[in-house]
Symmetry: C2
DNA sequence: GCGTGATGCGAGCGGGAACTCGCTTTCAAT
DNA sequence: ATTGAAAGCGAGTTCCCGCTCGCATCACGC
């Protein structure tokens, strides 16, 4: 951020730039994400853009951050509602929250995951994973589940990697399986792994 | 491919270019993967490079293809050795093959996964996934496992996504879990899901 | 050993994109 | 109304990169 906008007009401009950045990403793709194009989409001149952003990357960074924070927030809040429940219903709601979070804005998600270098998402994405993993580890540690695996950290890591990628690939690749069925498989996978009864 | 090399000298040049491309990717990263740089690394002139490759992408494509074909080959051949076994030993060997395949060349893997847009890997990667998934589905269908899940296709899809990403993240992120432990978790995850006995 | 196609060269062209700078317009406080 | 700062402008600068083209060199068949 080069200059902090003080007047209402410039604050709106910054938001227009960020909205335009998002729009260019979705509509034109990452390859065509150029500062001139973003400025044009925002209806401003390139020079104005550089009044507030130091470079192209900083615009992109903010767009990415906002997206992942949004996903993270939705997922975590869905999880927070479920701290009391146990067994397969709890697992199901976690899986549901993950799916819902990623389903929120699939077009932007597709660009971020498929077109950007993964390293661009790395930090924000890691933050999300850590957040979910810690909640999961706490849940496991609270003894809500019989202790079937030796290392709770490792177990949480395995679960989160598996769940997240199943949800991610389902949203992005649209395989011919209904949402409900995938959700059930996610529950079954987790429940089987943790030896939670009442799976089927 | 613009011209097919006939003399031994030019065949060597093509290989030098591909080797240089690989080297530039690993040492300088995808961002700096330029044709001039590849030519310099290969010890030839930019013009010579375009004698045999139509554009920059075609060089990269071949480097990527060769990598994934290598991984695919290693993984599939490890799997082929195991068609007779059943139960957890079979699962373990599949997981081991996946890990081994990805461990083969982690530095190039890192560049391909972290720095390239995922869409660049998409086709080759999908080929690998399909190959493994079909083997898995056949295995499931052969009744080597009790039929615990309703849809064998879906089950195979879930398993492959989960296993592949656990292996991938373990190789790339180097979390502080020993290989053996992760392997056991992969086995436990699968065995629990499929209700295979003798897990622990 | 000669000629012809194959191979190799490397300066340079064309273009696009990030970013700048001198200028104008707008705002708000007095 | 005045004025100084904030906001906005957009042609232009600079740089890099993909790719070409005219020419030199090499190697194999005769």
């Amino acid at each position: 951020m080069r200059k902090t906008p003080t007047q209402a007009r410039s604050k709106a401009t910054v938001e227009r730039i960020l909205a335009a950045g998002r729009q260019v990403l979705v509509k034109d793709g990452y390859e065509r994400f150029s500062t001139n194009r973003v400025a044009a989409a925002a209806g401003i001149s390139p020079g104005s853009l550089y009044q507030y952003f130091s470079d192209k990357a900083s615009i992109l960074d903010i767009v990415i951050s906002r997206y992942w924070e949004d996903v993270s927030e939705r997922t975590a809040s869905a999880l927070a509602l479920q701290t009391s429940s146990t067994g397969t219903p709890a697992i199901r709601s976690v899986a549901d929250a993950l799916l819902a979070g990623l389903e929120q804005d699939p077009t932007l998600l597709r660009v971020l995951i498929e077109e950007l270098p993964a390293s661009r998402n790395r930090d924000r994405h890691a933050a999300l994973v850590t957040r979910v993993r810690d909640l999961t580890a706490a849940y496991l540690h609270a003894g809500a589940v019989v202790k079937t695996r030796p290392d709770a950290q490792l177990t949480a890591w395995v679960l989160v990697v598996a769940m997240e990628n199943i949800a991610l690939r389902w949203v992005l690749d649209r395989p011919p399986y209904p949402r409900e069925a995938v959700l059930e498989e996610m529950v079954a996978l987790t429940a089987g792994y943790l030896q939670v009864s009442g799976v089927r």
